[in-house]
Amino acid sequence: MRRHGLGRRLPRGVLHLLIVAGGVVMLYPLLWMIGSSLKPESQIFSTSSILPSTWTVSNYTQGWTGLGYSMTGFLVNSLVLCALCVAGNLISCSLAAFAFARLRFPLRKVLFALMLASIMLPLHATIVPQYILFKYFGWIGTILPLVVPKFLAVDAFFVFLLVQFIRTIPRELDDSAEVDGCGRFRLFVRIILPLSIPALATTAIFTFLWTWGDFFTQLVYLSGNPASFTVPVALGAFVDSTSQSSWGQLLAMSLVSLLPIFGFFIAFQRLLLDGISTTGLRG
């Protein structure tokens, strides 16, 4: 197999060394977090050494139930929420993106601009009217305000991503499909979706990640029952500026909460490899 890209003339050893060195820089903060999560609370800020002088796992054992509710519940809630949001975004955003990228229709440019504009207002300016709207729908205290928008392609970011990606797919494919008598929906499902798998995987990864980390909307909309708290909302309760905090527990639980997203990333990044170059459609 031929190799492509930059740096081919660099000796392999040097290149690998650089990549490893870069990796250490990338990982150092994570290692610091792991080290500190194994320190007693009073050592976290008083020593800058990455290794604990006294090792303890109490941050993990106590942190798991530190809020009076088990971390297991928060993790399950977050996983369910993320799964729904990923499904919602994959379906709704790809439908909208196909229309913007491949079909001609009146007001196309206006609607596209409107879509982009909708992600240009900061959350803090719209959260209050949005909360009032969802209260009017009777959705407060449920996951509906967090999930329904995903099925309605409100995350315009991903529509834009998929539009840009679909536009890198040559149009001759569409034409040949049409010659074969494919309708537009079949064209979308049979040709465009399979060819967009890397972008769909990207959408899935980011939706999962951002939903997993999204704090404020979950805090505001899920209020009403700590049993329905998600991971970020729970993590927000470990450290407080006006009373006793639990930094060690926060670090420990933050690390625990990284495992699912790390797993999700590893699972989905395989799909990134399935571009045109490997699906054989071009052949």
Partner: protein, 332 residues
């Protein structure tokens, strides 16, 4: 009509019937599938594909957007109804020194962090796209910082790295720099620690570039190899043009994201935008005004000024994109 003598339920049914009947009668006449032109059918299909998005736009997104526009013309403390003051908030922005400083800090942040982040992402995506052992692992390692996000946990890591007697101090001391600035606690350098954070978290654009690289047909490189084209030339002639729609995407998104950058400054400065307002990003100041000072009118005015600014910059990027973005679908 027999239905007329029955109760309210019947009246409701009756009210509904003529319209339904009309639809049934008109349906075939009005929507003669075969008589629609190709263009009309395409438009109809497009709107069907767009239906969920349209419902979301009208039902969820548009209302709060317009509401915030209206609020920007009012004095609104969240607790009692908004009170119309016309352009008062916009006028006050012009005379607010903290607003001016927030604009400056934000422009600096956008200007420095966006090119660095996209440059890093592109470089590493191309590098990591080569077949090599444990590629998945290496990619994951480079992506880990982005998984960490801008959480409270990452904030304390950053403070430990760039804080008093922190890791960075120790490292530069090895190189003989004994009196470094206080980095994160010095108003002159604090914003650059946030730039470093942004550069360190280049994972998102990198993944998008990787996805794009996978879609570039191998045959193009193979043909170039036959022609004996130089690697750098291949990168410029094949990789860059074919990746350009995604470069545009990353550029637009990073610009929007950096203009709106909130969480890094919020968690690292403990919500203050300090030291001495040196990390008071635009949206952090907006948040402080809207939620800290309970002046949502002012915050909303700031939001709409930001929207206009971002629209202008984005429009400029799109305008130039015609020259440097290459779409496969145009080629056909």
């Amino acid at each position: 009509m027999q239905l007329e003598s029955r109760g309210s339920q019947a009246r409701a049914v009756r009210a509904w019937l003529p319209r339904a009947g009309g639809l049934v009668e008109q349906g075939p006449g009005r929507l003669p599938r075969r008589k629609l032109s190709r263009r009309q059918r395409e438009a109809l299909a497009a709107y069907l594909f767009l239906l969920p998005w349209l419902v979301g736009m009208v039902g969820i997104t548009l209302g709060p957007m317009l509401a915030s526009l209206w609020i920007s013309f009012t004095r609104y403390n969240l607790l009692s109804p908004p009170h119309w003051i016309g352009l008062g908030n916009y006028d006050a922005l012009l005379h607010d020194p903290l607003f001016a400083s927030a604009v400056k800090v934000t422009l600096l942040y956008v200007g420095v962090s966006v090119p660095i982040q996209i440059g890093f992402a592109l470089f590493l995506a191309v590098l990591l796209n080569r077949g090599m052992k444990a590629l998945g692992l290496v990619r994951a390692v480079y992506y880990i910082p982005s998984l960490l996000g801008s959480s409270v946990a990452i904030a304390i890591v950053w403070r430990t790295l760039f804080g008093y007697d922190g890791t960075v101090d120790r490292v530069v001391e090895l190189f003989g720099w004994h009196n470094p600035p206080a980095w994160i606690d010095d108003p002159h350098t604090a914003v650059y620690t946030l730039v470093v954070l942004a550069a360190w978290q280049f994972g998102a654009p990198m993944i998008i570039f990787l996805a794009g690289l996978r879609n570039i047909p191998k045959e193009l490189y193979e043909a170039a190899d036959v022609d004996g084209a130089h690697r750098w030339l291949q990168f410029r002639r094949i990789t860059l043009p074919l990746l350009s729609p995604l470069i545009l995407f990353n550029l637009v998104l990073q610009v929007i994201g950096s203009f709106q950058a909130f969480t890094p400054a919020y968690v690292i400065s403990g919500g203050t935008g300090g030291p001495a307002s040196s990390t008071l990003f635009y949206t952090l100041y907006l948040y402080q005004e809207a939620f800290g000072q309970l002046d949502m009118g002012y915050g909303s005015a700031m939001a709409w000024v930001l929207l206009v600014a971002i629209v202008a910059v984005t429009a400029a990027i799109f305008a130039t994109s015609r020259r440097w973005v290459f779409y496969m679908d145009r080629q056909a």
